[in-house]
């Protein structure tokens, strides 16, 4: 949490993200760049603005599961971001997956490149199921309902509300208002 705060301050101060871009290939567990940290926090912050169908949860207190498929770009940033957070009374947990199977229990799926399964394969695996799929277009990986983009040095996202709606997910208009382009 302390890290995120510091990063945000840096952002507010107008620090350019570009300086950090170079290090993404060799980003280790400890050294997470600012952009990635922001994406990590956004990933869980989508949760309050999404309404899952009742069937997505078996019990009222079942945690919201964020699945990170393929290579994990966030490192400890995501764990830190979700620590202690509750959405609609549910805690948030993170699962790291090599492969995404249709029966894998996920509420939010961040699909990254992986040797075993391509992003598209991962997305197809959960297609039709109420899983909010997120990819990072700024890293050249597109697809899914939400794609992270960088606009004028800021992390933003696109939303494909139509795709989400087909699976029974409802996305709050507050979130839609913040999307840079809304796909149909």
């Amino acid at each position: 949490m302390e890290l995120v705060r510091r990063l945000r301050r840096a952002l507010a101060g107008g620090a350019a993200l570009a300086a950090a871009f170079g290090g993404f290939a060799g980003a280790g567990e400890a050294a997470v760049d600012l952009e990635t940290a922001i994406k990590a926090s956004y990933l869980y912050k989508f949760a309050p603005f999404i309404q899952w169908p009742q069937a997505a949860f078996t019990t009222p207190s079942e945690p919201i599961t964020i699945c990170v498929a393929g290579r994990d770009p966030f490192g400890p940033a995501l764990e830190e971001a979700i620590r202690g957070q509750r959405v609609s009374g549910r805690t948030i947990v993170v699962r790291y997956l090599e492969n995404v199977e249709p029966e894998t229990r996920c509420h939010i799926l961040f699909a990254g490149e992986a040797p075993e399964q391509s992003v598209q394969e991962a997305l197809r695996a959960v297609a039709g199921r109420p899983v909010l799929t997120v990819t990072d277009l700024s890293r050249g990986v597109g697809g899914g309902m939400i794609q992270f983009v960088v606009v004028r040095g800021r992390v933003r996202f696109t939303i494909d509300a139509g795709a989400a709606g087909e699976t029974g997910l409802a996305i709050s208009s507050k979130l839609l208002a913040l999307a840079v382009t809304v796909g149909r």
């Binding site: 912050k45 603005f49 509750r86 979130l175």
Partner: protein
């Protein structure tokens, strides 16, 4: 007087004081109302600010969560339009200030904190958490003025103005009322004063009239008494029969004048027993013609215009004659160089509830009466004639007679052209009596032989009346009162032919009671009453009992007794 003034002053002062008190009360009440209103307004303001904070917090959830500072500032900017907001801040989940605006250097906390609403220096501070689906995303802070000082002052100034105007109105009304009531009191006092003055004036007029009356009566009576007493004295000193006869006649005339005077006084006072008879007015006046001609001067011509078919009236004929004579004498005296006295009569049909009347007008061509004198002519002892020529009772008698007969009298006069005096008498419903075939002037023997029971308490009067009766040829027995008279009638006193009684006597029964008793018990015994003055006289006349008015002459007495005996059926 001083006390009244001071009390009036107190009253005058009390009304404005009450007005001021009322206005102070009004002021306090409106102040309390204003404070209460203020309280309500503040609560309303608080709710409003809270709602605003919640709306802001709700719309800021997205921008705060995803660091959209532009959108955050936009929302805040929209809020800044509200002039009552002096400062607003948006804080992230970590309490860091994300965006803000402030007016006139209003304070704004550095870190976001959610707490209950606070009023600080008249400004309202509300906070609201920004949350989405239970996830805390930050907080908003709003600082609003409850009401600008100038606006509140204006509001209070408005209330104060209204209250002050109302108070002013009350004070003005109070002053107006006080002055009006003071004027009313002055008016009342003045009315009272005038009433007192009028009463005093009436009283003095009454006293003046009384003085005139008593003075006039005393003057006339003294003259008559002078004649009588000196005549009697001279009578004792002379042996000359011719001179004695002359003196006796002088004394008799004086007494007769005295009797007339009292008669006229009583007529004026309407206490005189009128002896009303149903008569034809035209016939009565024609009968007076000779008397009028004799009483008036040669240069005064009397013209009569008396139509036939006048309604009958019920009046005392002798009083009527006296009245006409009085009016004619006045007319004569108003025409020192001669003229015409015109007497005419007519029927006056009643209208508007008034009954039918018969009018008798005596018109002269004399000097007339000045307008300011007209009202006084009917007052007793008012006269324009010289000393010794008039009594001032003539028109008083006319007035008393007319009113006593149920009629009226009016007078119209044009100075220099003449006077018209009109008498009105009510029409009588009774028929005219049939004329007696022959009114015998002398007592028949049968009548003269009758025995009269004389009831009289006064010895002197009894002796004199007894003497007159004996002179007339009647036998007479005297009783002193009603009780003894009844005893005589019941007992051995023998049959009486006539009862002659005084009206007012000591004892339980007076003359009228006696006459009524006798009429019931001895219907064949006629009764004649005598009186000098009595309020019951009218009742006597009304009951058809013959009445003799004292003083009376032997001739009058004889005539009354003859009539009574004839009415009692004694002539049979």
């Amino acid at each position: 007087m001083l006390a009244r003034l001071s009390s009036r002053g107190r009253r005058l002062a009390a009304t404005p004081v009450a007005g001021i008190a009322v206005s102070v009360l009004l002021l306090v009440a409106s102040l309390m109302l204003g404070l209460h209103d203020d309280e309500l307004g503040r609560a309303e303001k608080l709710r409003e600010a809270q709602v605003q904070a919640q709306i802001l917090a709700g719309s800021l959830a997205g921008p705060l969560a995803f660091d959209d500072d532009d959108a955050t500032r936009e929302y805040l900017g929209a809020l800044a339009v509200n002039q009552e907001l002096v400062a607003a801040g948006v804080y992230g989940p970590d309490g860091r200030l994300v965006a803000s605006f402030r007016r006139d250097g209003a304070p704004l906390p550095d870190a976001g904190r959610v707490g209950p609403p606070v009023v600080e220096n008249g400004e309202l501070i509300v906070t609201a958490p920004v949350a989405q689906a239970g996830a805390s995303l930050g907080s908003v802070y709003l600082r609003a003025t409850t009401e600008t000082w100038s606006r509140r002052a204006l509001r209070y100034l408005g209330i104060a103005t209204v209250v002050l105007l109302a108070a002013l109105l009350i004070v003005v009304l109070g002053l107006f009322y006080a002055s009006a009531s003071a004027a009313n009191r002055r008016l009342q006092a003045e009315i009272k004063g005038r009433e007192q003055a009028e009463a005093a004036l009436r009283q003095s007029q009454k006293m003046e009239a009384m003085g005139q009356l008593t003075g006039g009566v005393a003057h006339d009576f003294n003259n008559l008494l002078m004649v009588a007493s000196s005549g009697l004295e001279l009578l004792g000193r002379t042996d000359d029969p011719a001179r004695q006869e002359k003196l006796r006649r002088g004394i008799g005339e004086a007494i007769e004048r005295g009797a007339k005077l009292t008669q006229q006084l009583l007529t004026f006072a309407r206490r005189s027993p009128l002896n009303p008879q149903v008569v034809d007015l035209a016939r009565c006046i024609r009968g007076l013609h000779d008397l009028l001609d004799r009483s008036l001067r040669e240069d005064v011509l009397v013209e009569l215009d008396l139509p036939d078919g006048l309604w009958p009236i019920e009046v005392d004929t002798s009083q009527l004659e006296v009245a006409v004579l009085n009016v004619a004498i006045n007319a004569r005296d108003a025409m020192p160089h001669g003229g015409v006295i015109r007497i005419d009569a007519g029927n006056v049909p009643g209208a508007g509830g008034a009954g039918d009347m018969v009018r008798l007008t005596v018109r002269d061509t004399g000097a007339g009466i000045a307008p300011d004198m007209i009202e006084k002519v009917f007052e007793p002892f008012f006269t324009t004639k010289g000393v010794g020529r008039g009594t001032g009772l003539g028109l008083s008698q006319v007035y008393g007679f007319a009113r006593g007969s149920g009629g009226d009298v009016t007078i119209e006069s044009v100075p220099g052209a003449g006077t018209a005096l009109t008498l009105f008498f009510p029409r009588s419903t009774k028929p005219l009596p049939v004329e007696p075939a022959s009114a015998s002037a002398s007592a028949s023997e049968a009548e003269a032989a009758a025995t009269v029971l004389l009831v009289e308490d006064d010895d002197n009067v009894a002796e004199m009346v007894g003497g007159m009766l004996r002179e007339l040829g009647y036998a007479t027995v005297r009783s002193e009162n009603a009780a003894s008279a009844l005893k005589r009638l019941d007992g051995d006193g023998g049959p009486f032919d006539l009862l002659l009684s005084d009206m007012i006597m000591p004892g339980e029964m007076d003359g009228l009671d006696l006459a009524r008793h006798v009429a019931r018990r001895y219907p064949d015994l006629p009764a004649v009453l005598m009186t000098g003055y009595s309020q019951a006289a009218a009742a006597v006349s009304a009951q058809g009992i013959a009445l003799l008015t004292k003083p009376f002459t032997m001739e009058t007495l004889g005539e009354a007794l003859r009539q009574a005996l004839r009415a009692g059926g004694r002539e049979a």
